[in-house]
Amino acid sequence: MSAVSFPKDFKYTKTHEWIKVTGKTARVGLTNYAQDQLGEVVFVEMPEVGRTVKAGDIFGVVESVKAVSDSYSPAGGKVTKVNDKLSDSPELINQDPHGEGWLFEMELGDQAEADLANLMDQPAYERFQAEAGEH
């Protein structure tokens, strides 16, 4: 696996999504581990802007040549923006999973604090994905 490090200011899910919180808003994407497991992404189905999601809801689908994978929202809130570049260039998820390959942005809901408290921080996720990679 390529040596992409997991940003320290992100939080991580057990289903390999990341979330970066800035005040009351957040940006969500797939981790480098997730994109590596999937292989080359060829299709992304995004949530509709305005949709309300709860933590753990399936918000979209990411497909590689061989796999179809649901993506789960790390936190509750309302989708405010999706990464339009991904419809023409889904490979951005492989090339820059923690940056240009982000999936959507949201306005965090009232439960956000509790949602975020359930997520892993960077050192915890680093261990988690290393163990997952051994199986």
Partner: protein
Amino acid sequence: MAEPRKTPLYAMHIKYGGKVIDFGGWALPVQYGAGIIQEHRTTREKAGLFDVSHMGEFRVTGQDPLGFIQRFTVNDIAKGAIGRCIYSPMCYPTGGVVDDLIVYRLGEKEYLIVVNAANIDKDWAWMSEVLKGFPGTNMVNESATTAELALQGPKAVAILQSLTKTDLLDIKYYHCLDNVTVAGRKTLVSRTGYTGEDGFEVFSAPADAEAIWEAIMAAGKPHGLIPVGLGARDTLRFEACMPLYGQELDAERTPLEAGLGRFVSFDKGDFIGRAALLGQNEKGLERKLVGIEMVGRGIPRHNYRVLDAEGAEDIGYVSTGSYCPSLERNLGLAYVPAAVAEEGRKVCVSIRDKAVEAVIVKVPFYKRQRPTKA
């Protein structure tokens, strides 16, 4: 779960960075470092090397190998002179498919039958039953003692030619030659493959497989050869619309429904499944395999349902679907009622409970240019 079996080329998969998975009981690479898309495109544009040692090989000799093989195949094997390879489905009396295979005629009364890995045991049992009617004819399962690799792509001839004194252009498409020395090892070479490209399949003793693989990799380096895994093997065969057992073919579908009528020879005399296939042929097909292309956003996948143009009625299913790396289109093969099986006809594919628009298109999706008649 039992440990997956390793092919004689397992060490090569590790050495070349293969992502090894359990593929129907075999430890084989789904891809190497280049990834499925690059492996696919490189095979189309240059060349790819595949380990297909999991395939099954049965050798048939003795009194009446031709009569025996004619009985369980639907294609006419008698038209094959020594050195011919003939593709044929193998059917149940119902016309449903046991497996699809290639018959290699190696000698006057010597044949090698190459069958799908997942069906080795089933095929062996099926053919052994048929063999009871042919005393004096023998069949030996050589699957465990045969390694097979496939070199495919426009550079395949140049690469393999550099490793043998045999003039490979003498081996025409769907022909084979036994006792060819490749990289100093004894092999059987055939001009066959499962990618839609020109190329060869090379059979050898397991102990020689690694040396042959490494010699081909070295000879192929200046030509841009890379190793290719099962992922691209599937997308390559799919673009070329070559059927895969378990998807396009199974016990419920007949070769006629699968569009393989040209491989069914009603004139060759009786064979297992003939009456059923003849009946279906006379009555007309209820269902046919067609190509579909997505119009709406989405990728059709194996076993997704096909709906009518309004997205209301369930009319069939996708046997294989994928993003196609060379064509950059989202395509599928699907079984639909014969009445709707015409190009340009609109249908829908049910993707995550949504009816997504698609259209019936021509097959094969991909056909290679044949610049030289070789």
